[in-house]
Amino acid sequence: MTIQSFDLLQPRSLSEAVDMLAERGDDARPLGGGTTLVILMKQRALHYRYLVDLQTIPGLNEIKREVDGVRIGALVTHRMVESSALIREAFPVLADAFSRIGNVRVRQTASVGGNLAHGDYRLDPPPPLLVLGAEVNVVGPNGARTIPLKNFFRGMYETALEPAEVLVDVKVPFMEPDSGAAYLRYSTLSANDWPCLGVAAWLRKTNGRCQELRIALGGVAATPVLINGLDFVADQKIDDELIARLLDRVDQQISPSGDLRGSVWYKRRMARLFVRKAVEQLNGAPS
């Protein structure tokens, strides 16, 4: 299979990239690692006359420690996240989630920003990034802005990115000392496949009582879902009753579509099972 002809534009700066995209409108798309866009163009599912290569812009492939968190450049590869000593120490849940995507070649190529901008409902990074409270920085014709990740995903393959806006980096705030996070990925086909669903949980506990709990799921709605309305867990012990209430909340906020990896009924059942496992794992109970 060959790819229908296009021009690869190679900007040297973000502002040049934004200008290139703005001038060409719907005929142009930014190109990150290319694991999705190039394959979709090869399969002739998509075609753009211009691709704007973000790899030629210096500085987008760095992972940087800041006072209050870590900044991950849009062109950082999945493999870089998985092997970064900084990420492994500060956010083991992220290193773990990124290490289980596709295969090593895909992780060597795919970019963090490209993954988020693609807006696929079943990708692995969004759930852990959502529970960690990440935000994305973008730049476009009207300047720079910051979007909390929970407001970034708008629909199936649809994000808050405006025309000619480029995702620059993802900022992940450091976790509080008494908090922990886990990501459970459930595959129903091969291990390298997209998951049937993924569940991330983040728990802050003091003196054996839950203070704050965050849950996010992938694969069970048109977008990744951060569950809201979990304030009732504050200062409670995690027991069966609390978990039952929690699972009802999850059930109300997901809206799975059946796909190759599970029917609607099955995904709802598995969402309950894996949310319970994730919370119990963080709470130190056997799962």
Binding site: S5, D7, I39, Q55, N103, V104, R105, A191
Partner: protein, 159 residues
Amino acid sequence: MKREIVLTVNQRAELLTVEDADTLLDVLRDRLKLWSVRESCGVGACGSCTVLLDGRPVSSCFLLAVRAVDHAITTLEGLGDGRSLHPIQEAFVEERALQCAYCTPGFVLSVKSFLEENPEPSDDDIREYLSGNLCRCAGYADILRAVRAAQRKMAPSRA
């Protein structure tokens, strides 16, 4: 768009005129006649088109050739000296870790990068790393043995 590029393939500089839409796989096979690089799934899942980019495995089937400029590309042809086999190739032969051999170049290159990165892997490490290389003759047990054999051959104390 057509453009002239220089690709460094197996330590040789190759001057080529390519289309922006050409994949590295197209260029390596059709232009440079490096037949060890093979297409199978076309979407990065099977590993038949694996090449090393600066020593790390990538799928050449969806890597644009123009994006490989300024990187060192290694195909299977670049492993030996033309007379003797690379220790990983020897290990594959000794353990009979191939049948039709369509997948073998991809496996050998992946194993090379893997053992350089992780010279003393666990069985799980090997399985995880090679999970993206598919062999449909079902020679996985032999391939795992070949990785161990290659590891012994490449260990510094035995070099």
